[in-house]
């Protein structure tokens, strides 16, 4: 059974199990329902290999035993179990505690006044407001994700409120279920964070491979990403395109992991054959990146950024010519290459680099993109993109006991 079919089997089997219980037993005892559905779930989960399966079975049993008792200590114990189950979110700090805690507190507050006869819609709306409040209370690290998690948190709050209403209506027996219910609802936001962590890890790994190959290229990539982002913002790109542009800037030279180091650091003019070897880094980058799902949108930018607007250069491109992002990368790439020290020459002045970009505008570079870069540079508050790579890599490699890399030394000179 493949993963998709296995995933789809979950809700179907759960529904069958729940329906079966209803048909056979009418309105069953909570413990029976809980145990049966949990057993069903465990059987299904057994198809997913997990080394911790045995570890959480006792917790399930304990929760079931507590859930069957509606005394106050039992409810409190169940709530405690709920908090323990939420260990992961809570370990992430105050922001995460707010994520789970605010809707949870709201749910119990609603439950405490549950004697009031108020429309369920009121509770859901109040819960959604609580969820949105939790979003506002999150730390800045989470807020900069934009409004992406707002729907999830609002839904989590609405669910919390609904479960609170359920508790008020049907009795404290439902309190432990409320607890875990809120945690499930909140887990969507944390799952999204796992994805973001995986994506950051992926970009970081590829960047580390690049810096081990050639430290200059890593620093250059970081600066290109910074310039590209500034240019993109000047051109009015939306946040999603800006984020992709930034990642494309970081990875635009990733194909150079396959270029011999002697060519990357050669002081003399490259022979034609050597130049061809350098050019191969574009398709190599595509080979490395195209299998990584979330990077697929940036692969064309990386492959096209050496294609000139007049059709010259190298790389593959569609009939419409290089994309706007690729044209931005081309300008940022050239500007940084000119204004930094290279093995074969010292850094050129910013004025010279701008003049050169203007001279090639319309043939090699997009004139609008060049103009955007000029606007960025002319701003009084302009600060060149920072590169923290040297201290970063030095600390990391020293911690690992990695032998010093020649490029680290030469780059510092």
């Amino acid at each position: 059974m493949n993963s998709t079919a296995r995933s789809l089997a979950w809700p179907g089997a759960m529904a069958l199990a729940g329906g079966g219980v209803l048909l056979v037993f009418g309105l069953p005892a909570p413990l029976l329902t809980w145990a049966l559905l949990t057993a069903t779930h465990v059987v299904l989960l057994r198809t997913l290999p997990t080394p911790h399966l045995a570890a959480w079975l006792p917790l399930v049993a304990l929760s079931a035993a507590v859930g069957a008792d509606d005394s106050l200590p039992a409810v409190l114990l169940a709530a405690l179990i709920g908090v323990a189950l939420a260990g992961r979110p809570l370990q992430r700090g105050a922001a995460c505690a707010a994520t789970a805690g605010v809707p949870l507190a709201h749910a119990f507050a609603v439950a405490s006044v549950g004697g009031l006869q108020v429309s369920p819609a009121f509770y859901f709306a109040a819960g959604a407001a609580a969820g949105a409040t939790s979003f506002v209370l999150l730390g800045s690290a989470q807020r900069d994700k934009g409004l992406a998690i707002l729907p999830e948190m609002s839904l989590a709050g609405a669910i919390a409120a609904g479960l609170g209403l359920l508790t008020a209506t049907a009795g404290p027996l439902f309190a432990p279920l409320c607890t875990v219910g809120v945690l499930v609802a909140a887990s969507g936001a944390f799952a999204r964070r796992e994805v973001e962590a995986a994506e950051a890890h992926t970009v970081g790994s590829l960047m580390r491979a690049l810096e081990i190959k050639d430290l200059y290229t890593r620093g250059h990539s970081e600066r290109v990403a910074g310039y590209a982002r500034l240019i993109g913002a000047e051109l009015g790109l939306d946040p999603v395109r800006l984020a992709r542009l930034s990642v494309a800037g970081l990875l635009h030279d990733i194909g150079k992991v396959a270029v011999p180091r002697r060519l990357l650091r050669k002081r003399d003019r490259l022979a034609d054959r050597e130049y061809c070897e350098i050019q191969a880094h574009a398709p190599v980058a595509a080979t490395l990146l195209e299998g990584i799902g979330f990077l697929e949108p940036v692969v064309p930018f990386v492959v096209e950024h050496h294609v000139h607007v007049d059709g010259g250069g190298y790389g593959t491109v569609g009939d419409d010519g290089p994309s706007l992002e690729a044209r931005v990368l081309a300008v940022a790439d050239a500007f940084d290459a000119m204004t930094t020290h290279r093995p074969y020459r010292r850094a050129l002045t910013r004025a010279y680099a701008v003049a050169e970009l203007r001279r090639c505008a319309g043939t090699q570079f997009d004139p609008d993109v060049v103009a955007a870069l000029v606007h960025v540079l002319e701003r009084s508050e302009f600060v060149p993109p920072a590169v923290g790579v040297e201290s970063d890599i030095a600390a990391r490699l020293a911690a690992l006991g990695v032998p010093d890399i020649p490029e680290v030394i030469s780059a510092r000179l």
Partner: protein, 248 residues
């Protein structure tokens, strides 16, 4: 199921890493189904919609979590290509050695989690070769110490690949490391040095220390299972310890 399908399935989703951190939510889902069953007769059908919403959200969490695992899996595959693209290892060597290591791991009855870690480590173990001077010199197994360190730096010691980073340290990675090194050495002997499978097995098993006889035996058993070599050839060419293990 054909071997290649099993290998592909194991390699592709990096599945065994899934679920370790998500078990609280996995427990919570049955609870919410209980809410559905219990609440409807008491408070009305609106509770059903409520619980369905909860379940949908929890279910979506797993789907999203799966995409995180897929990303790690894709990264592992991509890192496995670096050394080949760099010309540091023969084409196809990384994937062949990883597949062989996986089959040997199954033969050794490693857990699903160990197999997933083994497979990932077998893929990424050569990534550190990008740090070597030109032309990179490849040695089967884990290679030079600095290559190991660079590989660990690339893979990253933190996050979900932390155990993979530990495993690529061939000197301290136990039987899993032995499996990877043996598989890589065998593949290099066959495809790099042009030896016959039986001769390569003999080379690997004779060079192995006594405590790695089980690993060599697993290689021999896999080769026989796959029809790569005849059982008699293995028994004739392997070390005494490995042959004994295969014979058992």
């Amino acid at each position: 199921m054909h071997v290649s399908e099993r290998v592909a399935e194991r390699r592709a989703p990096f599945a065994s890493m899934l679920g370790r951190d998500e078990w609280p939510a996995l427990i919570a889902l049955p609870a919410l189904c209980s809410v559905i069953v219990l609440a409807v007769p008491l408070v009305g059908w609106w509770a059903l919609a409520l619980a369905v919403g909860v379940y949908a959200m929890g279910f979506r969490s797993f789907v999203v979590a799966r995409s995180a695992d897929a990303t790690y899996s894709q990264l592992v595959t991509s890192l496995g290509r670096i050394a080949e693209l760099n010309g540091a290892v023969p084409a196809g060597h990384v994937v062949r050695a990883a597949d062989l290591a996986l089959l040997m791991g199954e033969r050794l009855e490693l857990s699903e989690y160990q197999l997933a870690t083994l497979c990932a480590a077998a893929h990424v173990r050569t990534a550190g070769l990008v740090g070597r001077e030109d032309p990179p010199h490849y040695r089967p197994g884990f290679g030079h110490r600095s290559v190991v360190r660079w590989t660990q730096a690339i893979v990253g010691a933190d996050g979900r690949l932390g155990e993979v980073a530990e495993l690529v340290d061939g000197d301290e990675s136990g039987v899993l490391g032995d499996v990877i090194a043996t598989a890589a050495t065998y593949d290099e002997a066959v495809h790099g040095m042009g030896m016959t499978p039986a001769a390569a097995f003999g080379l690997v098993s004779r060079d192995a220390p006594p405590d790695e006889a089980a690993v060599s035996a697993a290689l021999g058993a896999v080769l026989i299972d796959q029809g790569v070599v005849l059982r008699q050839s293995v028994l004739e060419s392997g070390s005494a310890l490995a042959v004994d293990a295969v014979a058992k």
